[in-house]
């Protein structure tokens, strides 16, 4: 079987608790910096303040990105899109005249769950309808398309924690099929009390900084952020003499069909997704430089991922970057895709933050220190509520 055509990645934008742009994020990762703290934008009555990886409201340096008419998730998406477009060398006015699609993953950004509004509603009050209007104005893909005057396909993927990864896979498909010249693909999500309480209720939040793949891991820390990749056709890339930072070689997806929130113990959906992606790009394990694992720090997730990595990608270095960012839900796959490309470019991966003590029940361990990597491709993978598993394989540099 011949491989499917690669799709160039010409620009990346990324922000999260680790940094205000991709370069800052990578500096933090390679410096081993991480600072989860109790949330500052909301409070709760839990007896313990579960740490989160929060972006301070003033974090986006450009004040023109801050808008009161949309949700913070949409603001985050805009900031990353702007960085990505600039990084790809596109002029906004020129881009408008192309067939440009937008495909963005989110969870919180698509949920109508404004607590202030609902509290007033259920107490028979007269809540301000601005909360609803703001929600209706905040579909992340729609907000990006409107801001940049883009009129191609527009899609917000709501596949829980694999949304960002799915969005990149779908965006690459739009390029390959000729539906679009350019696609802005990624994910965005903000911290909120609903998900904070929700993950605590499921008893999969850690009261201390998360420790993916560690023997003492107790769960995840939530985070927030966004990342957008500029994908474009090879022909367009060549015609404007734009070099690619990497290429999307393939995408694989599989569903566990097992449980609403827990992964299948045998990792069947993840195995299926990895196998599908490897087959589609016609690469073998020898080509793989590293794997950016989902690595939430929950006992179940890390056990299943370790099992699958040991079986399908033995001896390949892997890490979780959630120790630096927290679990950013619908943005996670996109942020981790951005990190994966940056690490492929750098030829090294940072230490898997939070990992100290190997778990005797796991057959693999992530990298404990900054590690040089060889190989022409890298894998980033996401597991999600609903049993979704999504995998994107990136190839190095120009194609």
């Amino acid at each position: 079987m011949s491989p499917i055509p690669p799709v160039p990645v010409t620009g990346i934008g990324c922000l999260c608790a680790a940094g205000a742009n991709l370069n800052e994020c990578m500096d933090s990762l390679f410096a081993g910096k991480r600072k989860p703290l109790p949330p500052t934008r909301f409070s709760s009555d839990h007896q313990v303040a579960y740490p989160v990886f929060e972006i301070t409201r003033a974090f986006p340096a450009d004040s023109s990105n801050q808008r009161s008419d949309i949700l913070f998730t949409a603001e985050l998406a805009l900031v990353a899109a702007k960085e990505a477009i600039e990084n790809a060398g596109w002029n906004r006015e020129v881009l408008k005249n192309r067939q440009v699609g937008v495909c963005i993953g989110t969870t919180v950004g698509s949920a109508m769950n404004n607590e202030e509004f609902y509290r007033s509603y259920r107490s028979g009050g007269n809540p301000n309808m601005d909360a609803i209007t703001r929600f209706l104005n905040s579909n992340p893909a729609q907000v990006i398309a409107a801001e940049f005057g883009l009129t191609g396909p527009c899609q917000t993927v709501v596949n829980a924690c694999s949304s960002g990864t799915d969005a990149i896979g779908l965006g690459a498909s739009w390029i390959r099929s000729g539906i679009c010249d350019v696609v802005l693909a990624g994910g965005a999500d903000e911290l909120c009390r609903v998900t904070y309480n929700g993950f605590i209720s499921l008893m999969i939040s850690d009261t201390s900084p998360c420790k993916p793949f560690d023997a003492n891991r107790k769960g995840l820390n939530l985070g927030e952020g966004s990342a957008v990749l500029v994908l474009e056709s090879s022909d367009l890339c060549r015609s404007r003499k734009q070099s690619a930072r990497a290429s999307v070689l393939s995408f694989g997806s599989g569903c566990d069909a097992y449980h609403l929130t827990a992964p299948a113990p045998d990792g069947r959906g993840l195995k299926q997704a990895i196998a599908a992606a490897m087959t589609a790009c016609d690469k073998t394990v020898e080509h793989v430089a590293f794997v950016n694992a989902h690595g939430t720090g929950t006992p179940d997730n890390d056990r299943v991922e370790s099992l699958v990595l040991n079986e399908l990608l033995p001896q390949i270095p892997y890490l979780s970057t959630k120790g630096y960012t927290g679990h950013t839900l619908g943005a996670a796959g996109a942020i981790e895709a951005a990190f994966t490309v940056a690490c492929l470019e750098a030829g090294e991966i940072p230490a898997s933050a939070g990992f100290e003590t190997p778990d005797p029940k796991l057959l693999t361990t992530p990298v404990k220190h900054q590690t040089a990597v060889n190989g022409s491709i890298a894998i980033t993978q996401s597991l999600a509520f609903g049993g979704n598993n999504a995998v994107v394989i990136f190839g190095k540099g120009d194609i």
Binding site: H46, Q142, T151, V157, N159, L260
Partner: protein
């Protein structure tokens, strides 16, 4: 782009299944239920097209459904009806992909989750309600019940959710990732939505939908689902024809539809904010029909129009627009049932923000 439509499952205010939909089309009428909604200390009756999902128990035992909420039940029922209609319900669905469109997701469960935290404190928030509140819970339940392990995708783009998700479903078939996709749209009504409806449109909101009167706010809230069993075009004649094109874009780049050479099914649903776009873009004299008065206004109602188009293709009949859909002097509205012959049907939907989606369905 071609996808064969082999089965349809619909759930709406008109009932469940293709036959109930067909009967509603023939009689041209569906009566909404009246639901009390209180705003600013005043209670008013709001008409809503609500769905009954009790027939789901003929497919799945009650015990297996005990943690499945109304939103997911709507989707599961639509899915099982579509598979049954296609004659594949009992087949192995291991490689089946599931693609779901939703505008608002599991709204009722989301607010019920908030209730648990408000009533008993954050530490007592319900994990079951949280798990079911995510937009992709419906797709997850379908996959678990069918043991479908193909790609599983949920898309939320408000009124554009259906064409956007259908694009993804067709790509899975075109790219030969899978041989079949269960595609559909689902949205539910909830009390908060009714409250917002009253606040936005006032206590005098419509009791009868007149979607052809573009400047008249006459939308009536609805809920429902429509699912389709789609396969690749392998040269066989599918039960309901083919999806042959999906166009998604913005009114700024929308071309007039006068030269389409087929019938236009308008997704106009009595929302004044989107009605103005139909008025602006559809050429005078275009042959058009509108069926939203049979199922109401909700983000993925477009999927019901798609089902009506597919049923029309199967029957070789264009059903009459319901008589009370309003007056429109500019278009050639199909007021009487007529023969479809070999023409194509275009389902067109505008969002209030000027985005549009157009899905073409044809017999060949």
């Amino acid at each position: 782009m071609r996808a064969a439509i082999e089965g349809i499952g619909v759930v709406g205010g008109f009932g469940c299944g293709v036959e109930k939909l067909r009967r509603a089309l023939i009689c041209g009428k569906c009566t909404p239920k009246m639901i009390p909604v209180t705003t600013r200390n005043q209670t008013a009756e709001l008409p809503v097209y609500l769905c009954d999902t009790s027939s789901l128990e003929s497919f799945i035992n009650k015990r297996a459904l005990r943690r499945v909420d109304h939103y997911s039940k709507l989707a599961v029922l639509g899915s099982f009806l579509a598979l049954e209609d296609a004659g594949v319900l009992q087949d192995d669905h291991l490689n089946l992909a599931i693609v779901v469109a939703t505008g608002y997701g599991a709204s009722l469960t989301t607010f019920s989750f908030l209730d648990t935290a408000f009533d008993d404190g954050d530490a007592c928030a319900s994990p079951t309600l949280f798990s079911n509140s995510v937009h992709n819970a419906a797709a997850a339940h379908i996959s678990i019940l069918l043991k479908a392990r193909g790609p599983n995708l949920t898309v939320s783009q408000f009124e554009m959710s259906v064409p956007s998700a259908l694009l993804a479903a067709c790509r899975l078939l075109e790219d030969k990732v899978v041989d079949a996709v269960l595609f559909g749209g689902v949205d539910e009504y909830c009390g908060v939505l009714g409250y917002c409806w009253q606040r936005f449109f006032g206590p005098d909101s419509a009791v009868s939908m007149k979607p052809l009167e573009w400047n008249n706010q006459s939308a009536i809230a609805g809920e429902g689902s429509a699912f389709f069993f789609l396969t690749r075009d392998e040269g066989n004649k599918p039960k309901y024809g083919f999806v042959t094109d999906i166009q998604i874009g913005h009114i700024e780049k929308h071309e007039s539809q006068s030269q389409l050479g087929g019938f236009l099914f308008l997704g106009a649903d009595g929302q004044k904010s989107s009605g103005i776009h139909y008025a602006r873009c559809i050429q005078q004299g275009t042959h058009a029909a509108v069926y939203t008065p049979l199922y109401g206004s909700f983000p993925v109602g477009f999927a019901i129009d798609m089902a009506i188009a597919a049923v029309s293709v199967r029957e070789g009949t264009i059903y009459a627009t319901p008589r009370h859909a309003g007056k429109n002097s500019g278009l050639k509205i199909i007021w009487n049932e007529q023969h479809l012959d070999s023409k194509r049907i275009y389902c067109l939907k505008f969002s209030c923000k000027g985005e549009y989606g157009m899905i073409s369905i044809t017999a060949k």
